[in-house]
């Protein structure tokens, strides 16, 4: 991969455009086509490139062009491409999604694309020489790892005019926030769970991957986009959505709403979570009095939130109540046990058992979580007429999010190099302070600041002698973590609910076994989100745990509960014996992965370490932490100031698109 660069301002602008296209292409991961273009883009080309996220495919006479490049140019003329803009010089511009579609739907391409993929995978461990030199050799900021926090920081720094080099040793974007194929995910989890000289303290452990239908799954090598840090959704009013809109990253993303939320009730049945006035109205499982109590509670919260702090009013919840445990407050509001569970675990998303554990949610925080949920519903209704839920999910997986921020960064001039590990850190001989990094290519790059993905440990060969830096490295060590999160992924052939495909399921504490102290959240996604083939479903589940054995117990309990629900869900009215026969003939569960992930918060020293994916359902806490890191990095800069709305920003301020 060769990058053009120049300190010349005019060249710099041209470079930005090119890097946009590059960013666009990289979304294709291995199958992506790299664009190389030496002449300045015309106005017309520019227009096609930027706002529409088009991709340019250029036949290059240059020997440095990747071998697979002609593939797309060999687009058979008998099968005309999807609406594409072609103009002189043999360029063809495709919309990104069209290209993905093209690759997936055309068999002749699939084979070759597949080959290229595997080629990339084998290369992923070690970079392929020769490394083209990077110019310039000094930056304001170097970011290593393309997870969401790193991508947000590099996009924000680029937007405020800093020169940024963004590196990732992986051949794909997203690091621990990426969405991968089955093979890539297996490889990623395995490589990050085995201690090595490079990484003595891996992020993942106890990886259990089972394949029950390898033949079937191998027919769809590229049709899965499995989230590494699932289950995860966005609340329509949450921080991530705000940041996407503010930064313009929303231009590259499409969302669908999660249709419903269910909770496992005392009878081991899934009951729906009435989260809005209309949902309470429609709910068939709640009694009339329960409906009344729940709605009155929602109104109380709304009334409380709509009032000024200063106003003394009987509608406001008293300070005393706000400081009391949320569970006690709900009891005081005379909510039934079932509704209490719904509010605590399925709307406020409390992690721990609110009756026995020490991690008790305060009423104040509970109310704020309800407020987020409530305003999420409101926001959706305002923006999209048909979407009534509070939660949304990006089409093609959560991995799209960091990529969108990376593309935003690229538009603002950030330089991206993937498959480029850093082999050592450069420090000042005299002060011992951080100076720069040495890349696997052997090139030394200098920068003022460095941001690191938490899983990276940089062999401090050059700095090892210096006490000060060593201390700061210790601070990054993963051993002082705050706990673990147990994650699981299943691929199934049938949905937990026959008529729905995308929804959330909560197994509240003690619903699966008496010692279950944390809530298990399950997210089922279907083919219409482009995370798996149509007709299959991906189920993510996670729970917080203190240690590995506890986590494994939670995962196995969740997995067996899900399998039980799958059986009862698909059996319908037919007798149990029959359904068992059917299950034997056609296993519903096709594939599963269970793993434990360590948790650590971000750290700030002369080098910044970003937080690991947390155990939450959304990105709120992560992005709050990221924002704090950014402010420490650049105390005078605002994260994506609203005033610098570029033309492409103002084109459509509701850049978030959502299909229903």
């Amino acid at each position: 991969m060769q990058r053009n660069n120049s300190r010349d301002a005019a060249h710099r602008r041209r470079w930005q455009r090119c890097s946009t296209a590059v960013a666009a292409t990289t979304e294709m991961r291995g199958a992506a086509v790299v664009m190389q273009k030496t002449e300045t883009l015309t106005k017309k080309e520019e227009h096609l490139l930027l706002p529409n996220a088009a991709i340019a495919i250029v036949p290059l006479p240059d020997a440095t062009a990747p071998a697979h490049l002609p593939l797309l140019c060999r687009q058979p003329s008998a099968q005309p491409p999807h609406p594409a803009h072609s103009f002189g010089g043999g360029f063809r511009f495709y919309h990104l999604k069209e290209l993905c579609h093209l690759l997936r739907s055309t068999n002749s391409f699939e084979a070759e694309a597949g080959r290229l993929m595997t080629g990339n995978e084998s290369e992923s461990e070690l970079p392929v020489p020769p490394y083209p030199p990077i110019e310039p050799t000094a930056f304001d900021l170097i970011v290593i790892g393309t997870g969401l926090p790193e991508s947000v920081i590099s996009a924000a720094a680029s937007a405020s005019g800093k020169s940024v080099l963004h590196l990732d040793p992986n051949p794909f974007y997203g690091s621990h926030f990426s969405s991968l194929s089955i093979a890539d995910l297996t490889h990623f989890l395995n490589s990050h769970s085995t201690p090595s000289s490079v990484c003595p303290d891996p992020l993942y452990s106890d990886v259990e991957i089972s394949n029950y239908a390898s033949r079937l799954l191998s027919q769809h090598p590229r049709n899965f986009n499995l989230d590494v840090s699932g289950p995860r959704v966005l609340f329509c009013a949450d921080h991530a959505v705000d940041l996407m809109l503010k930064s313009g990253a929303s231009h590259y993303l499409e969302f669908k709403s999660i249709d419903a939320t269910f909770m496992l009730d005392a009878d081991a049945k899934l009951c729906s979570v009435p989260d809005s006035r209309a949902a309470i109205f429609k709910d068939k499982s709640l009694g009339l009095m329960e409906k009344n109590q729940l709605m009155r509670f929602f109104k109380l919260v709304q009334g409380h939130l709509s009032l000024d702090e200063s106003e003394e009013n009987d509608v406001r919840i008293s300070e005393e109540d706000l400081d009391s445990p949320f569970a006690d407050f709900l009891t005081k509001m005379k909510l039934s046990h079932k509704i209490k569970s719904i509010v605590l675990y399925a709307i406020a998303m409390a992690d721990y058992d609110q009756e026995v554990s020490e991690y008790v949610l305060k009423t104040r925080d509970g109310i704020n979580r309800l407020a987020l949920y409530n305003s999420s519903i409101g926001r959706l209704v305002l923006m999209f007429q048909n979407a009534l839920g509070a939660l949304i999910y990006p089409i093609y997986g959560q991995g799209e999010l960091p990529q969108a921020f990376c593309r935003r960064a690229a538009v603002k001039g950030c330089l991206y190099v993937l498959r480029m590990p850093v082999i050592s850190l450069l420090t000042d001989q005299n002060s011992g302070s951080y100076k720069g990094v040495r890349l696997a290519s052997g090139q030394d790059i200098l920068s003022h600041k460095l941001v690191l993905d938490p899983s990276f440990t940089v062999p401090g060969s050059l700095a090892s002698s210096h006490q000060q830096l060593q201390e700061s490295f210790q601070a990054f060590s993963l051993s002082d973590n705050k706990g673990k999160v147990a994650r699981g992924i299943c691929i199934t052939r049938s949905s937990l609910k026959p008529d729905l495909s995308n929804f959330l399921v909560i197994f509240p504490p003690r619903s699966l076994f008496p010692e279950q102290v944390t809530s298990i959240r399950v997210l089922q996604l279907g083919g219409n989100l482009a995370v798996c083939p149509v007709g299959m479903f991906v189920l993510y589940f996670s729970a917080l745990c203190d240690e590995v054995n506890q986590g494994k117990k939670l995962l196995h309990a969740a997995l067996s509960a899900l399998q039980k629900l799958l059986v009862t869900g698909t059996a319908g009215n037919s007798s149990t014996a029959q359904s068992e026969d059917m299950e034997e003939a056609k296993p519903t569960l096709l594939w599963s992965a269970l793993y434990i992930q360590d948790l650590s918060l971000g750290q700030f020293g002369s080098i910044i370490s970003t937080p690991t994916p947390d155990g939450n359902l959304n990105y709120n806490d992560l992005l709050d932490a990221t924002e704090k890191l950014y402010w420490k990095l650049y105390p005078k800069e605002e994260l994506f100031p609203e005033t610098t709305s570029s033309p492409e920003n103002s084109e459509d301020d509701a850049g978030l698109t959502l299909e229903s």
Partner: protein, 699 residues
């Protein structure tokens, strides 16, 4: 749209709207010029388009366009293509006008008009409606138009019903959707479409549906309205029923002539003073009916052998329908033997013809009989009404000790209504439904303090009591209901008058619900306590009554004391045809028009309206609700030729209108703002039979 606060205009906005107004004025004057000169050229029509797209409220412009379309249609009579393009252009203009204001009456009406021409496709209309109903799901214009479209394209009512269900599920705060649902269901039930044959099958699901809305958010009114409609559907019996009559079935009536025998051994409730040669027969139905006449009601008796009876509707306006009908039975001429007994048999429902205002026929053949005996005795004169001044003071009234021979004048009424209810299974589910609703709302009220919930519970309890009558073994809920209305008066001062009215009605229902409670309010009137032949007075004073009701159980009353209440109106009192003495003093009657019902009380002799507020209000608000000499309904009765006292009539036409047909011997009006010497002299002229005015004997 809803819930948007009104903000004052910013200066720049004000300037913009001023500029817009100026532009509109220019356009408008050009347009009016075209309109007046019948110019329908292309340019002229385009001008109106421009005008309407800025201001869709201009009804004249829509009418102009209708004329223009008619004009163009006559020109292009034969060519269907140009015809269609003319109408399509109109539809387009309407649509863009509606974009400007989707609540423009003129625009929606114009669209209906074009479609009624029948040349445009109706299919597009539902798509358009979906757009408008998405923008504002409660827009009643759109819902109204939807009904029109659904009817024109013969869309099934079941489909529309499903549509209302979907809309309600999206957001149940949609009065328009609930309303449309009630209309559709009424139609389906009326036509007895498959699946909608009986209310018993349909209504429980509807109750269940509306409960979801009411219990989820009791503060939202739309569900409550639908519930009220459901309650009405549950309680209502479609076909009219006879609920009471006078004389009551099986009664023995004793009519006393001019002179009455002292020591008559009959009950004072069946004894009736007579000062003319006729007596009334009153039929009281549960709803207003038409078609009561000598062919639908057969009266078999010696009392009216020669001619057909004339039935008169008792209603305030001159409509042909009334709840109460009266006819006069003639007594035989000359002195008859005192022992003579005349049996009378009344039968109705044997032929069709009595029909309710909603089109249902009286369908229960029913027959009842009573006997009339006459007593003309010429012994000593006693205080018959009209012979001596009536004193309403307490000492004139004496407790009445009931006698064994007193047959209740109301006891038979219940039998009457029960006998008519031959749909017993129907009755059972109605009663069960109401009982279930009562339980639900009691539970809701145990959780929250909800005004409309209390009101609904009160209505349900009353419906339950009404259904369960006679309350033989059942405990009446009236105490609880009265308590609920007292609560509501405190909680909701805005609607206090309504609650007061309801409270009065319930109180009257309680008083009249059984014979014992009625008897406790009955007093002998007599200036000399020894006299047993004196009339019986029903005292309903000091009860804070603001409205009157339960007349069906009071048809027998001859003397009524309603003083010291809060009456503004005496609506319905016309049913008491036997009333001869009426005390309305110390109420808040505001005008003579409020006394309109007494025009129909032909036997009224003594009237006391002292200490009211007649003449105190410069603007008489009841005038617009009641008939007046100026309204068309009573025009026929108003004979200008009769007016001998022209000047006074001009000043007191209301009083003249009310009083002129009455034959009052005693009238008390002191304590009203209207009273002065001139008015008194007017009264003496208009009431020639008057003997006592404000207690003073006249000469």
């Amino acid at each position: 749209m809803h819930g948007r606060p009104r903000k004052p205009l910013k200066p720049e906005d004000a300037a913009a709207s001023a500029a817009k107004a100026e532009k509109l004025r220019v356009l408008q004057s050009q347009f009016l010029h075209n309109h007046h000169n019948h110019i329908y050229s292309k340019e002229a029509v385009e001008l109106s388009t421009k005008l309407l797209e800025t201001n869709p409220e201009l009804y004249t412009a829509w009418n102009y366009r209708k004329l223009a379309v008619q004009h163009k249609l006559t020109e292009n009579d034969s060519d269907p293509d140009s015809l269609k393009s003319i109408l399509d252009e109109e539809l387009r203009v309407v649509e863009s006008a509606l974009r400007q204001n989707f609540k423009s009456y003129g625009a929606w009406h114009h669209r209906k008009w074009i479609l009624s021409k029948g040349h445009s496709s109706i299919d597009n209309e539902l798509r358009l409606l979906d757009k408008f109903q998405k923008a504002d799901s409660r827009n009643f214009h759109a819902w109204n138009y939807r009904r029109f479209v659904a009817a024109s394209m013969n869309r099934s009512e079941e489909d529309e019903l499903k549509y209302t269900e979907d809309m309600i599920c999206n957001n149940f705060s949609n009065y328009s959707a609930w309303h449309n649902r009630s209309l559709l269901l009424s139609n389906l039930l009326k036509r007895k479409v498959e699946g909608f044959v009986s209310k018993e099958k349909v209504l429980p699901d509807e109750y269940e549906f509306v409960h979801q809305a009411i219990f989820t958010d009791p503060d939202d009114q739309s569900g409550w309205f639908y519930h009220l409609w459901l309650l009405d559907q549950t309680v209502r019996v479609d076909s009219p029923q006879l609920v009471s009559s006078w004389p009551t079935p099986g009664s023995d009536l004793i009519l006393l002539g001019d002179r009455c025998l002292d020591g008559c051994a009959s009950s004072p409730f069946t004894r009736f003073h007579l000062d003319s040669r006729t007596f009334p027969l009153v039929l009281y139905f549960n709803q207003a009916v038409e078609g009561v006449n000598s062919s639908t009601i057969t009266v078999d008796s010696e009392l009216n052998t020669n001619k057909d009876l004339v039935w008169k509707p008792l209603s305030s306006c001159n409509s042909k329908a009334a709840q109460v009908w009266v006819t006069q039975l003639n007594l035989p001429d000359g002195n008859t033997h005192s022992s003579k007994v005349f049996p009378v048999e009344v039968s109705l429902g044997h032929s069709q013809g009595i029909i309710s205002s909603s089109g249902f026929h009286y369908s229960n053949p029913f027959c009842f009989a009573f006997r009339v005996s006459l007593q003309f005795v010429e012994t000593q004169p006693v205080e018959a009404l009209g012979k001596e001044i009536i004193s309403w003071r307490d000492e004139s009234f004496h407790n009445y000790n009931a006698h064994s021979q007193d047959s209740s004048p109301i006891s038979s009424l219940y039998q009457l209504s029960i006998k008519n209810d031959n749909e017993l299974t129907d009755f059972e589910w109605r009663a069960a439904t109401i009982a279930k609703e009562i339980d639900h709302f009691r539970e809701l009220l145990s959780l929250i303090n909800c005004k409309i919930g209390k009101l609904t519970l009160a209505r349900l309890l009353m419906a339950h009591d009404a259904m369960m009558c006679p309350p033989a073994n059942k405990i009446s809920h009236s105490e609880e209901v009265l308590e609920l209305y007292n609560d509501l008066m405190r909680l909701d001062p805005t609607h206090v008058q309504y609650y007061k009215d309801q409270h009065s009605l319930v109180l009257l229902q309680q008083v009249t619900s059984n014979w014992e409670s009625l008897l406790s309010r009955c007093f002998h009137y007599s200036n000399s306590p020894s006299n047993r032949g004196s009339p019986m007075c029903l005292q309903l004073k000091n009860l804070s009554l603001s409205r009157l009701g339960s007349f069906d159980k009071l048809l027998w009353v001859q003397m009524l004391d309603l003083s010291h209440n809060e009456l503004r109106s005496i609506e319905g009192l016309e049913a008491l045809q036997l009333l001869s003495c009426l005390n309305l003093s110390n109420n808040i009657l505001g005008s003579f028009t409020a006394l309109e019902p007494i025009r129909q009380l032909k036997s009224l002799r003594a009237l006391n309206i002292s200490y009211n507020e007649i003449g105190a209000h410069s603007i008489d608000t009841t005038k617009y609700l009641c008939s007046s000499p100026l309204s068309h309904s009573v025009g026929s009765e108003w004979n200008h030729g009769q007016t001998v006292i022209d000047d006074d009539i001009k000043s007191y036409w209301e009083a003249y209108f009310i009083l002129k047909g009455l034959n009052l011997t005693q009238f008390d009006i002191v304590g009203n703002a209207i009273v002065n010497e001139k008015f008194k002299s007017f009264l003496i002229k208009v009431l020639p039979g008057l003997k006592w005015l404000d207690g003073e004997q006249l000469h």
